[in-house]
């Protein structure tokens, strides 16, 4: 059975890109959210196996959303997918319990490997 992925990214084109990349793999995009607030609401309905989380979004940013999500659901698996890839954000992502960090722009194999690796931790 496919693992359920919830994509949190305000960019519709990134949502489509991830849906396309993951179609035909062991993962399926079960839901897409455009903000951290929406992700927090949607998580209980979707129960995803993994959440990909952008950082820069309108309203609550992805690191704050990930922190709140992991506080409420310590078993949640969060993979940060962002162009804001530098020590400050990577350290913060690790500190709050994210299972990985993927730089944008990413390649197909890279994101699939990162999802697999995050789910195996």
């Amino acid at each position: 059975m496919s693992k359920k992925i919830m994509v949190v990214d305000d960019s519709h084109i990134v949502q489509l890109q991830l849906q396309k990349i993951l179609s035909g793999t062991d993962y399926e995009v079960a839901a897409c959210c455009q903000s951290g607030e929406e992700a927090l609401e949607m998580y209980n309905q979707v129960h995803p196996d993994l959440v990909t989380m952008d950082i820069l979004m309108p309203g609550m940013d992805g690191l704050e959303a990930a922190r709140l999500l992991l506080e409420a659901h310590p078993d949640a698996v969060v993979l940060i997918v962002s162009s804001l890839a530098y020590d400050d954000t990577i350290n913060e992502a690790t500190r709050i319990g994210a299972k990985g960090f993927v730089y944008k722009p990413f390649e197909r194999d890279q994101i699939i490997r990162s999802i697999q690796s995050a789910l195996e931790q």
Binding site: S11, I13, L16, L56, S83, L84, P105
Partner: protein, 160 residues
Amino acid sequence: MNALTPKEIQDILDGVMQDVPNRIASIQLQKQDTFLSNNVNNLCTIHTTFEGGYHASLALCADACLLMRLTQHFMQEEIVTSQDIEDFAKEYLNIICGRIVAGLFRSAHISSRFHIPSFSLGRYIPDDVSSCCILNYTSNCNEGVQLIHQTFPLENSAQK
């Protein structure tokens, strides 16, 4: 906080401008002295501002044909809509800015963020060109790209 010279900032911008389209679509941009485009009536502009330890604005003007090619590669689709191109253009500047923020942090430990990019049709021409760093490029298909970077004279600006 350390400061960066205009040349150091320009080097960060130039590195990012050349790296990102290459990563997305293997498109190599050639640096030019002036803005050259074979389609000046079909330009788009994406704009954002930085905040935090770095106060600046960034506008990217690009030939719509180049943005369309990048969108096609990004989506792995031959047919893309104008909305796809607009969405991609904003994501493109988002990626560029993320890389710039990372570069500023690595070079001078400057922590900054940027606002969500906005998109408009047409070319952006700044009021005061003398205060801007302007980088011009062309693609292998002679599509023009111009990056207009303007630092704001505020405290804690990264530029010295």
